[in-house]
């Protein structure tokens, strides 16, 4: 994917007018090469999740443009809904619908959004469930699954609709280290399978391993943007160095 972002602004205004408007993205520009995996890192409140929501077609920016492979993202809700059906998003937590089993969660978008019959949908999820070792958990409800299993099912639900690209918003930050490992391992496999994705994460070590390019988002702008291999060397900004030193050695 070639991602081109131009002058992206996202400003939230308080409907009651009691607080001043907050500018979360402040004229952000970013142009990537033809890459498979882009990782967004940076401090909390810097705007990386807000950016990801815009890329995923969940929010509309105040101004500015975003284009994947030269195709600009639409701004009206109906067109965005169509766009969302071609991509997939996994959030930090609570992705799964608690009243449905893992299997029903997997089938829901296939049947209700992508028009598969139930047997077709079952056939579609069988092999991926097996590959990621989740078959034994398919009949369980989210409440019976561990945090790591829930996130893996959520990623699987995103994958089986065969999206053109996947957006992952801090998929491990609500998990303990052991479960973080199993989810990161799964994302690593996505990389090997050739899935295109944009990942927001705090796991710097993992970011360097899985990313083609890394963008450091701070104060609503891109602080540093570089190929993963020489990202650390390119960081001359002392504030970013300090952040990286802290997160890498924590």
């Amino acid at each position: 994917m070639n991602l081109a972002i131009n002058g992206l602004v996202q400003r939230f205004t308080d409907p009651d007018g009691r607080r001043p408007p907050a500018t979360v993205l402040d004229g952000l520009n970013l142009t990537t090469g033809d890459i498979q995996a882009l990782v967004l890192v940076g401090p909390s409140g810097g705007g990386k999740s807000t950016l990801l929501r815009i890329l995923a077609g969940l929010d509309v920016p105040t101004s500015g443009t975003v284009a994947f492979d030269g195709v600009p993202l639409p701004r009206d809700e109906r067109a965005l809904q169509g766009y969302r059906r071609t991509v997939a998003t996994v959030f930090q937590a609570y992705n799964l619908f608690p009243h449905l089993t893992a299997m029903q969660n997997l089938l829901l978008p296939l049947v209700h959004v992508h028009g598969l019959t139930e047997p077709e949908a079952l056939e579609r999820v069988r092999e991926p469930l097996e590959r990621f070792g989740l078959t034994a958990h398919a009949h369980k409800r989210p409440a019976e699954l561990s945090g790591g299993q829930k996130q893996r099912i959520a990623i699987l639900r995103a994958l089986v609709v065969q999206p053109s690209r996947l957006f992952l918003d801090e998929p491990t930050s609500a998990l303990d280290p052991e479960m973080t490992g199993e989810v990161l391992e799964m994302i690593g496999e996505l990389k090997a399978l050739g899935t295109q994705f944009v990942l927001v994460t705090h796991e710097m070590g993992f970011a360097r391993k899985v990313a083609d390019e890394i963008a450091f988002i701070v104060d609503g702008k891109v602080g540093t943007h570089a190929p993963a291999a020489d990202f650390l060397d390119r960081c001359t900004n002392p504030r970013i160095r300090l952040f990286l030193d802290r997160t890498l050695h924590a």
């Binding site: 809904q81 609570y94 978008p109 409800r141 609709v161």
Partner: protein
């Protein structure tokens, strides 16, 4: 102490106390006269069932509409629903019924045969105000992230309501709705003040015809319990079931 034993003990003590109180009354029970009026009780009981079912359906509708308005972004809709809920919950049903019948129905030139319609309507408005808060709580209990997930997988707003929000909200509110139904059944007894021939009204008529007060009103208690006990059992069962699913 086993549960069955605790219940038996409590009920036995209650029966003993009741028997002692009634025995000390030195009453000349006159069940025979009342027995002749059994069809009047029976008709009234069924009328109460019918009024309750009708009011349950209408009040659920009112409750859902008001709950959606309470959560609306539009200030006017929010204000209208808030005023409705607070006015209704803050005043006695008796007063509402009297206003409904003697003021509103009169202003609309409604005939006496339409008192049943007004009765169900006022009872539904009354119960709907309580339902509104129950439904609002149910909708509030569904985290925003669920709506995000629904949008992210490409559901339309209608599909997300139908496949994600309602199935969860219904599970959350069902026990409370069943509980509200218990109140509704009992509250319907007040419809007697606008001469609707339901259970209580008919029992009162039997009393005035036979002058046997307790014999007329005791069957009333039994008749209402026959409706409310299964309902509160249902409410508790739903609550347990939901807890099990959420665990």
């Amino acid at each position: 102490m086993p549960r069955w034993f605790a219940y038996t003990l409590v009920l036995t003590l209650l029966a003993a106390g009741g028997a002692w109180a009634f025995a000390s009354l030195d009453m000349n029970w006159n069940w025979g006269v009342v027995w002749e009026y059994r069809s009047v009780f029976w008709r009234g009981w069924w009328m109460t069932v019918a009024l309750s079912v009708a009011s349950l359906l209408t009040s659920s509708l009112f409750g859902i509409i008001a709950a959606v308005m309470l959560r609306s972004r539009f200030t006017l809709a929010q204000a209208a629903a808030r005023v409705y809920v607070e006015l209704i919950r803050g005043t006695p049903l008796l007063v509402q019924l009297l206003i409904g019948w003697y003021v509103i129905a009169a202003a609309l030139r409604m005939g006496t045969d339409q008192r049943y319609l007004i009765g169900v309507l006022v009872l539904s408005l009354f119960s709907g105000a309580y339902m509104a808060e129950i439904f609002r709580g149910g909708l509030d209990a569904i985290p925003r992230t669920q709506l995000d997930s629904a949008r992210a997988i490409g559901l339309t707003p209608w599909q997300s309501l139908q496949l994600v929000v309602l199935p969860q909200a219904v599970r959350i509110v069902l026990p409370a709705v069943a509980g509200q139904l218990v109140s509704l059944v009992k509250d319907s007894s007040l419809l007697s003040v606008i001469s609707i021939a339901e259970f209580t009204f008919n029992a009162r008529n039997v009393n005035s015809a036979t002058y046997s007060t307790l014999e007329s009103y005791l069957p009333l208690a039994v008749g209402y319990l026959a409706l409310t006990l299964p309902l509160s059992g249902l409410s508790r069962w739903l609550e347990r079931r939901f807890r099990y699913e959420a665990a």
